[in-house]
Symmetry: C2
Subunit: 510 residues, 2 copies
């Protein structure tokens, strides 16, 4: 499958700028083929204008047509075969097994949204019938959801398939009948181009207008700002760093007509170990914890960056098991040199805090010049560290264990938290019952509370909520994973006094 370095603008491969960049294999430092061309402001305008003009056709298309588009995308991702995974592997160093699994998840979620839109399950119709006898007469009022308009998507580096060009943001926006313009991730631009080709082919095959989908390449911050500040962008979805997300959030809010900006920016995902848990399952929790910390070389927005436990014999057993498990973790190549550099800086930062000491990690040294991260586990007495010093997320396989003198200290820590995606509690059922106050605090602070499990590995389902207060996301009402993520790209339209035959079909009967 060809990688040309060009954009896909409304079905056409185009590129006009002279500025280019290349992808690098983070494991080998090898420069990969194709020069990717920076998108120009004029090209962004072309993509946005085509999307805007396509909106009406997407509104009037049959539900089956929109569903078929999504199914054709899923089918296309499968039939493209290993070529896609080979390129993703070269660009991200993620193992082939993981990429295979991620493709399965990507196709699965795409088909979930196909089903949602085929059955029109996302419209939320509401009907209040009129009553001409009432004084004053009660109007007939009926409302349902529509797609909001062109959606700009910024995918994540850590899920080159499931949260990238054909990720949840794109497919949920398409399911809501919104045209999509994707900004390719500059760390896996070839993967992005191959997926964009699959989507463009699917759009053509189904017979929808080419403006339904565009994807542009760009390494500069400028290209991202130009995209979100385009007056025709009706909503934006972003998954990535706090720094990147905040910059785009500020750019959107400077618009004359600001629009919803949904960023998922990761979090620390604290884990609370209650007494009963350590008494009964110290070893098992230690193993699960180290697995969760190191999943995908720690490059998960839900990996547990902090653990709290009560000082004592059981915590020492836990820490011993943690050390054993962590030692066995081989260093591994991170997604790209920039993420690896940020990880190493994070390690310097945390170890420079007086009260923090490193208690374990990979015994094997990293291979030189291959951007490998070692697992690092730290500990600190919670009463001796300032929350601010150690609460910032370090993206990668590192985590800190806070020793507490009492459950009250844990509760105080919970009260001091900013917004996070998840919090986890390990304990006996009795522990949990006695921790209602802790649970209530966490309800304000996080989007999801996990009991006796680990926060990584997000189930794609209707009840999933992958969100949380800032800085986890920019709007705590919405989720970026699961069925409900479609609502980010919708707006209600209320029809008052319409005769039945002019109402949308979904609003004709109660």
């Amino acid at each position: 499958m060809e990688v040309t370095g060009q954009h896909f603008i409304a079905g056409q491969r185009v590129a006009s700028a002279t500025e280019t960049f290349q992808a690098v294999n983070p494991a080998t430092n090898e420069t990969l083929d194709a020069r990717f061309v920076e998108v120009t402001k004029a090209e962004i305008d072309q993509a946005m204008t085509a999307a805007d003009k396509t909106y009406d056709a997407l509104q009037t298309a049959d539900s089956a047509t929109i569903a078929s588009l999504l199914e054709a995308i899923a089918d296309g991702l499968e039939t493209v075969g290993d070529a896609l995974l080979d390129r993703a592997h070269a660009e991200t160093a993620l193992p082939m097994g993981r990429l295979n699994g991620e493709r399965a998840r990507t196709c699965n979620q795409t088909r979930i949204f196909a089903d949602l839109t085929r059955k029109d399950l996302w419209r939320q119709p509401r009907i209040d019938r009129g009553d001409s006898e009432r004084v004053p007469p009660k109007p007939d009022v009926r409302t349902m959801l529509y797609g909001v308009g062109p959606v700009v998507v910024f995918g994540a580096s850590n899920f080159p398939l499931a949260i990238s060009v054909a990720g949840t943001d794109t497919v949920s926006a398409l399911a809501a009948r919104c045209p999509v313009i994707v900004k390719a991730h500059p760390a896996h631009p070839g993967t992005c181009e191959m997926i964009a080709s699959v989507i463009s082919t699917a759009v053509k095959k189904i017979g929808l207008p080419a403006g339904t989908f565009s994807m542009v390449q760009g390494k500069s911050n400028r290209s991202g700002v130009d995209l979100v500040q385009h007056e025709k962008a009706a909503a934006v979805a972003f998954t990535g760093s706090l720094q990147g997300g905040r910059a785009l959030f500020d750019a959107v809010n400077q618009r004359k007509n600001p629009v919803p900006f949904y960023a998922e920016m990761g979090s620390l995902n604290p884990v609370f170990l209650l007494p009963g848990a350590l008494e009964q399952r110290a070893d098992e929790i230690a193993t699960g914890y180290i697995q969760s910390v190191n999943l995908g070389v720690g490059q998960f927005c839900t990996n547990p960056g902090a653990v709290l436990g009560l000082e004592g014999e059981n915590l020492e057993s836990f820490l011993s098991a943690v050390k054993v498990a962590a030692a066995k973790v081989p260093p591994a190549t991170m997604l790209h040199p920039g993420i690896h550099a940020a990880f190493e800086q994070g390690q310097q930062r945390i170890i420079s805090v007086d009260a923090v000491k490193r208690i374990g990690g990979s015994s094997q040294p990293p291979v030189a010049d291959s951007h490998q991260a070692s697992c690092n586990i730290y500990e600190a007495d919670i009463s001796q560290v300032g929350q601010q010093e150690v609460s910032e997320e370090i993206f990668g396989p590192s985590s800190i264990v806070f020793k507490c003198q009492s459950v009250e200290q844990m509760v105080e820590y919970a009260k001091s938290l900013d917004g996070h995606l998840t919090a986890t509690i390990h304990g006996s059922d009795e522990d949990l019952k006695n921790s209602a106050a802790l649970v209530r605090i966490l309800q304000r602070k996080v989007g999801r509370i996990v009991f006796n499990g680990f926060p990584t590995g997000i189930e794609v389902c209707n009840a999933m909520h992958h969100g949380g207060p800032y800085p986890a996301t920019t709007h705590s009402f919405f989720t970026s994973i699961g069925h409900q993520s479609i609502y980010r790209f919708t707006k209600p339209v209320c029809f008052q006094g319409f005769p039945a035959n002019c109402l949308p079909e979904q609003l004709r009967s109660s």
Copy 2:
């Protein structure tokens, strides 16, 4: 009922600053009693801290208790009698009949939210049962909505009862179990204090913590900025001008931890007259139009600021009837001198546009020195005016009729619209059937499309959507009127792997 000029901070009447302001009767220029004290930053912090500490008690309260609070507020607004309406009349010049009706609506909507919260109808429970047989095992995931935290409310000047201290924002936030801090409107501060007293009494009577509700007085922009930038404010609701709303929106987004900011900032509410309508009902529509333009001295965010019709005999009949109806409208006192001055400036601005001419309005002159606005109706050939020159909302009893040469010109006008709360179409059923393209354009641009009616007079019901893209509001997904307005103040919390007896009751069974 006493008016002291003080704030209500967590149940206490307090005020420490020396800076004060007074309310003025806009009809008589009489200064009304009580000196209202500017709130200090320290007092704001007290109110926010008390609210924050109250959050947990509101989460654990019985649904019946929250419902009783709302019912006690509605009862209190009724038993306070005419004193409240007398003060509101003196501060706003709104007629007693209107204020009586507005109180009925206020009590009605408060009881609607009492019912919603008593029956826990707003929680949106979602359950995905676990499956331990699946490979990998499927976790048990259950989610429902919770109140988001302390909510700051800025009421509107034009609804001193229904969108003010005990307005929809306050009662929907309380129904979602959020503590509320109201910024009193400086144009009707005495009315605000009387209502705050009713709410504080109700909080005390029901036995909820005093931090459940606070209200502070302030005329300075600074006090508003301090409120929305307080780190404990979890969401903000605002109803008012674009200028005021945008300033607070920008202030919220400058926070280290931005939070949802919901502003309803009004709009032009265009009305499209299709051929069949003018043929059949030119006189009737003209009468309805002039009534709608002048409702509450035109001080409705949904009053129709622009009408589009096809040039010809029928439009001339409509315009004749408009002139007759408009001439009969007596000039009337506006809400406060500032709104009146802005209205007069708006009239100067619109008449200074070359293509615009005034075609009718109140025949009676306004009474001097009483801030009376006359009705003013303008017309212009749509091909001769720039959209920008005449698209800005003028708050008050003024409207412009655009003469069009074709339905296509109407469609082009619709395409050029910014976000609005409403659009209205008058026509035969046949006209509407032939205007599917126009309806689809309006779906993107507005929150509510009215057929053969007028946009003023919003039904408070479950299907109502009072919202729209910016600048109508700051987030087109949400409504500020009707049952669904509660969702502005909620966030989902997802429970994964919780044993049944530790789940909230609403999530225990499917």
